[in-house]
């Protein structure tokens, strides 16, 4: 873990400490064609550790030579070596170390998962907020597309609407024209009928007048002498006719 710490801190110092950055990055500004964006994704989980602090890499490295129990033997051996040679002397600090170790292990075991969950929740909330914005934007854009399509359909329909309206207006105009034409026809007919009637009247009156005149003249021309002669003739004709019919009747 300490080796990893050194690694990470060296990296951090190199990438963003003021002097380190100045020494390292000045020569790297806009020199390579490689783009710094997008940043490669972070690994999902941190480095694997056994028993909380010992990195798994040590176990993996020692496995080929010493098998599964290798690192444990190494640890026990080191510990016993340091104790027996009195490189590490057990004193009151050992008890203090045991005590603070117990506190730390208790703290991590009890509060570890909830703290990790809290940290994950913070990140998830950030993502959820951005996702919400994105979803809202997408929904509103989809709605806009739909509305646009509807408007386009409406525009197509508008042509039909205009045609129908034009039709209506044309029909109205036509009706109007026909009405007026009918009216004109009637009026002209009336005028012509009147003239006709007038002419007929004239003719009739002329005819009547002429007949009356002819009758009057004929009657006036009939002298009394002629009148008597005609009456006598009529009587003789009638007698003759009577005789004829009587004869026909008896025959």
């Amino acid at each position: 873990m300490l080796s990893r710490l050194v690694f990470v801190s060296a990296n951090a110092l190199k990438s963003s400490g003021p002097i380190g950055a100045g020494l390292v990055q000045v020569s790297h500004l806009h020199t390579s064609p490689q783009s710094l964006v997008p940043v490669p994704p972070l690994p999902e989980k941190g480095g694997k550790v056994r028993h909380g602090i010992i990195p798994d890499e040590i176990f993996q490295t020692l496995y080929p030579k010493t098998g599964v129990t290798g690192p444990y033997m190494l640890g026990t051996g080191l510990l016993l070596y340091m104790l027996s040679k009195e490189i590490y002397v057990i004193n009151h600090e050992t008890f203090a170390a045991a005590s603070i170790g117990a506190v730390i292990i208790y703290g991590v075991k009890t509060f570890g998962p909830s703290v990790a969950e809290f940290a994950d929740k913070l990140n998830e909330e950030k993502v959820a907020k951005a996702q919400e914005v994105k979803d809202l934007a997408m929904a509103s854009l989809a709605l806009a597309v739909e509305n646009e399509k509807k408007e386009q359909w409406r525009v197509d329909g508008r042509q039909m609407l205009f045609a129908a309206k034009k039709n209506n207006v044309a029909m109205l105009l036509e009706t109007n024209r026909r009405e007026r034409q009918h009216m004109v026809h009637n009026e002209v007919k009336k005028r012509l009928d009147y003239q006709l009637a007038l002419q007929n009247l004239h003719r009739r009156m002329e005819q009547e007048h002429m007949v009356n005149w002819v009758e009057k003249n004929v009657i006036n021309s009939i002298t009394p002498q002629q009148e008597k002669e005609s009456i006598a003739k009529c009587i003789t004709d009638l007698k003759a006719l009577a005789k004829a019919t009587q004869a026909k009747a008896t025959a």
Binding site: L5, V8, S9, A12, S15, S16, V39, L42, G46, V89, I90, N91, H92, E93, T94, F95, A96, A97, A98, S99, I100, A102, V103, V115, A116, F118, A119, D120, L122, N123, K126, V127
Partner: protein, 227 residues
């Protein structure tokens, strides 16, 4: 290597080179630097959350002029809490047990608040020396008392932190020694003493965090009066 009880409070020196600067700067390595990423790992997320929340809570009662102090107060809080907590590990040196360090933190900051108050609003700053509603005959005495209280503040800040931490560490050492010495003689009593040691360590963890917070809180309070 045999230890006496006060070796842990000696300023560390290695082959004649004082290591105090290292002791003060190396703890900052434990704080990851914010990256250019939008989503970070858990440690960085928690660190960012803590710093934001703490600064927000600390600056709530301050007016806008006091917000200039956000960086120094939050970084002071992180500094003290880290030093205190790291000092609980065995064989470590806690810089905040040194009175020189704590006075070095308390006096300049306190003096800064007083000078700001005297410069920007001298009447109000001097007015703090007389609490509201004091009976007239008590006024002279009270002004003297309040002035003494004002000048005691940096001393109190520094000594409070030093005393708490030193006392805590000493207690841990003493009780650990008791447990250690009793182990071959009376194991049961040694176990009881270990239990006491465990509880004391829990208390010390709390004290470490609380003392750091109290230091920063009082500083923000003095700032509130004067800004």
């Amino acid at each position: 290597m045999t230890l006496s009880f006060f070796d842990q409070f000696m300023s560390p020196v290695f082959m004649g080179i004082p290591l105090m600067a290292l002791a003060l700067t190396l703890p900052w390595i434990l704080f990851p630097i914010p990256t250019a990423r939008w989503l970070n790992n858990r440690l960085l997320t928690l660190q960012g959350w803590f710093i934001n929340r703490f600064t927000q809570q600390l600056l709530l009662p301050l007016n806008v002029g006091g917000h200039k102090w956000a960086t120094i107060l939050t970084s002071l809080m992180l500094f003290l809490i880290t030093l205190n907590m790291l000092g609980l590990l065995p064989y470590t040196f806690t810089p905040t047990t040194q009175l020189s360090l704590n006075m070095g933190l308390a006096v300049p900051l306190w003096l800064a608040t007083v000078i700001i108050g005297m410069r920007n609003q001298p009447t109000a700053a001097l007015g703090h020396l007389l609490p509201e509603g004091t009976p007239v005959p008590l006024i002279p005495v009270l002004i003297i008392i309040e002035t003494i209280s004002l000048f005691i503040r940096p001393l109190a800040l520094g000594v409070r932190l030093t005393a708490n931490l030193t006392a805590g560490h000493l207690l841990i050492q003493l009780i650990a020694t008791a447990a250690f010495v009793l182990l071959p003689i009376m194991p049961t009593v040694a176990i009881l003493t270990s239990v006491v040691l465990f509880l004391l360590t829990l208390l010390e963890v709390a004290v470490a965090m609380i003392q750091a917070y109290v230091f920063v809180l009082l500083m923000s309070l003095y700032l509130q009066e004067n800004v």
